[in-house]
């Protein structure tokens, strides 16, 4: 492995983890598409910032971008508040307009600057190591590594300091407000964080794939855990795995690295989606299959309980009538009866089914639980 390769992987990992952390809150707060909006509109902030300071490397551009991210969020909220358009439409109106404006401004007035829309949309991680940070004449590493580490630390700090508030504002905004935390402040703080992260990241991965980095790891983690801390940790791990495997797949195919990272994150999600221990498709199918029988046995005991001691019982509780009454296929009904007998829930007395004490208790408990 060459030094450049190591540097690229380092940058990729740092970018991915930095994106995944605020992404967790976006996913939990149902604001995932806001990352799409912000990652596009920060470009306008950079362009306007550039017109003001006329230096493409000025850190003020990042501030401009962060402000534009916040403006995007408020514009969406403002538009939504007129109640003339729904929230999803508001997002879909605001960000393409601001992004288009940025693209046109660039092509019109800043054509000669290192800012072209291809690069903004797609990013090129492979070039990141060539932009070196030189301090006092000595090369200390790629600039991107430093900026993104800075962003990562910023995100970590914010989450550590405001962990309690973030958690509360995410899961119970009303309670947070009642306790005196301002959910609005946390909300805008988080949005500012997303903006800064997006600016830092889109140089390397482009604005569309920022969305993949922000959303895919948290969504995968969301299917694996209920705890916020675990979700943050898992997201970071997935992000790092996606970054490094993505790099090698891109290397092997000679393809775009960021795209490949998104692809690998998609693969991770796919695996989780299918095989997550409780919420995966396989587990779901298994649980359904098991529950089908448990459910059917419970339905049988409740049916018997409802008709116990009534004049209709004789009719309702005959084994051969069961499939007719419950609309079950006869083989299915027979299987359910067999299982229920095996579990000691029902007994068979010359063609009639009767509940055992256990069966009666199961029926009662099921009804109690359901109520």
């Amino acid at each position: 492995m060459s030094l450049t390769q190591i540097e690229i992987q380092l940058i990729a990992t740092v970018v991915a983890v930095a994106c995944a952390l605020p992404g967790v809150f976006l996913v939990l707060r149902s604001m995932a598409m806001m990352s799409d909006a912000i990652s596009h509109t920060v470009l306008l902030g950079i362009v306007i910032g550039f017109f003001i300071v006329e230096d493409i490397n000025s850190p003020l551009l990042i501030a401009g971008a962060a402000v534009m991210g916040l403006i995007t969020v408020s514009l969406v909220e403002l538009l939504n508040r007129t109640r003339l358009v729904q929230e999803d439409a508001a997002i879909g109106l605001v960000f393409p307009a601001l992004f288009s404006l940025a693209v046109i401004l660039i092509s019109r007035f800043a054509g000669d600057v290192h800012l072209d829309s291809d690069a903004v949309l797609l990013g090129e991680l492979a070039f990141a190591p060539f932009d070196r940070l030189v301090i006092a004449g000595s090369d200390v590493g790629p600039v991107a590594l430093y900026t993104m580490t800075g962003v990562l630390l910023l995100n970590l700090t914010f989450i550590l300091i405001f962990y309690k508030e973030l958690k509360l504002a995410t899961f119970d905004a009303a309670l947070a407000a009642a306790l005196g935390f301002s959910p609005g402040l946390i909300h805008y703080g988080l949005m500012g964080l997303v903006s800064i992260t997006a600016v830092g990241a889109f140089d390397t991965v482009g604005s569309i794939l920022v969305v993949a980095l922000m959303i895919a790891p948290p969504v995968s983690a969301y299917l694996l855990t209920d705890r916020l801390t675990t979700m943050l940790g898992l997201s970071a791990v997935f992000a790092a795995i996606g970054a490094i495997t993505g790099y090698w797949v891109a290397h092997w195919l000679d393809a775009n690295i960021a795209g490949s990272m998104a692809m690998m994150l998609g693969l991770i999600f796919g695996v989780v989606f299918l095989f997550a221990p409780e919420r995966g498709m396989v587990a779901l199918a298994q649980r359904r299959a098991r529950q089908k029988w448990e459910f059917a046995q419970a339905a049988l005991t409740i049916h018997l309980l409802n008709h116990e001691g009534t004049p209709a019982a004789a009719q309702e509780n005959r084994v051969e009538h069961l499939s007719h009454h419950l609309r079950w296929q006869p083989p299915f009904a027979a299987e359910v009866v067999q299982r229920a007998q095996r579990h000691g829930l029902v007994e068979r007395h010359n063609g009639y089914l009767a509940l055992t004490d256990d069966g009666r208790q199961l029926a009662r408990e099921t009804l109690m639980l359901a109520t």
Partner: protein, 376 residues
């Protein structure tokens, strides 16, 4: 005149005519079908579908080595459709919410497409300029046969919409009731989604993956402000879409050097802004005027009612009262002097001297009517 020469170009210049036609087709199709997406709160579905189309386009190219747009568009169609299915499955079977599913599928399909695209670049003589136009849109590079392909697909979508108009309306307004009538609403949903994918795919080449979503949302959102009828909304959205498409395409191909996609999006955003402010009944300006007028009417009526109260307490109903009294009755709500002036203009009150005012007979009758209304 510039406008005249532009018109001439539009009629006789092959490129310009093709571009304008293409943009018009795009606007009409995405505007009308976008209306349903917006009404069903699926505005961002367009965003997701257009991004998700990218791998489909590239795979279609890899498989056929053809850059003929109908082939590529079919690839886009399949991919967009698959993405929608996947999103539906994620939302239905897991606890992941709609917005996360959208963002996830959108960005991962796009990333996959990008990998394929950069991979294709290594294929010898696969000049992928044609493919690149799907990313950012190149209306100026549209050929007549591209426009033809767009028109064919677009018409198919519009015909479907026309045929299933009633079912689509039912799905958008009250799907449960629709199901109770015996319509298989899942199937209707699939049909509508398919037409939406077609609409998006039609626009990709002109506007590009990134900005296509705007063409789904914006014309419909603008049209919604002007009407309360679905049919008119769809027609207006088609009109707005076409208008934005043609104007944008003209501006960008008239040597301004502006990229087509962004220009069209800015034009359509301008239409949205105008609609939101100026549309009658719903528009912000309209609402502001109505609110102001109401407030003024209430103020006028209140002052008149106060004068009436004073008049009925006095043996002479046309006796003049001091404005200060009325001002205290209004509890410092201000504007009393101005309101009295308005009333005087209408001949309802009379100014006795510098500070005292009295009802006129007309004013007394009017005040009687108002207080009667108030008590009701």
């Amino acid at each position: 005149m510039e406008l005249w020469s532009l018109l001439q170009d539009l009629l006789f210049d092959y490129t310009l005519r093709t571009v304008a036609l293409g943009a018009a087709v795009l606007g009409i199709v995405s505007g009308s079908l976008g209306s349903f997406a917006v009404l069903r709160r699926q505005s961002l579905l367009g965003d997701a579908m257009s991004h998700a189309a990218l791998p489909g386009i590239v795979i279609a190219f890899i498989l056929t080595r053809s850059k003929f747009s109908l082939v590529l568009l079919l690839g886009a169609l399949v991919a967009g459709w698959l993405a929608t299915l996947l999103m539906t499955a994620i939302v239905r079977y897991t606890r992941v919410k709609q917005d996360s599913a959208l963002g996830l599928v959108l960005s991962i399909f796009f990333g996959f497409g990008l990998v394929l695209l950069t991979y294709v670049q290594r294929i010898p003589d696969a000049n992928q300029a044609g493919l690149n136009s799907y990313l950012f849109g190149q209306a100026a590079a549209l050929l007549q046969r591209d426009v033809l392909a767009m028109a064919v697909l677009g018409s198919a979508a519009l015909v479907l919409m026309g045929l299933f108009w009633k079912e689509f309306k039912l799905l958008s307004f009250d799907p449960v009731f629709g199901a109770s009538l015996g319509f298989p609403m899942r199937l209707v949903d699939t049909l509508l989604t398919t037409t939406l994918v077609i609409a998006i795919v039609v626009g990709l080449q002109a506007v590009g993956v990134v900005l296509m979503s705007a063409m789904v949302v914006a014309p419909a959102a603008a049209a919604r402000q002007w009407t309360d009828r679905l049919s008119i909304m769809v027609l207006l959205a088609a009109l707005f879409g076409a208008l934005a498409g043609v104007i944008g395409a003209l501006i960008s191909s008239s040597g301004s050097g502006l990229a087509t996609g962004p220009t069209i999006v800015l034009v359509v955003s301008a239409i949205v802004t105008i609609s939101i402010f100026l549309a009658p009944n719903r528009g912000l300006l309209w609402r502001w005027i109505v609110r102001r007028r109401n407030r003024r009417r209430l103020r006028v009526e209140a002052v008149l009612a106060d004068l009436y109260t004073l008049a009925t307490q006095h043996e002479n109903r046309y006796h003049a009262h001091d404005a200060v009294v009325i001002r205290t009755m209004r509890a410092g709500q201000g504007g009393v002097a101005h309101t009295l002036d308005i009333l005087q203009e209408r001949g309802l009150v009379r100014k006795e001297d510098e500070s005292r005012w009295a009802l006129t007979p007309d004013g007394f009758r009017e005040a009687q009517r108002i207080t009667a209304d108030m008590q009701e």
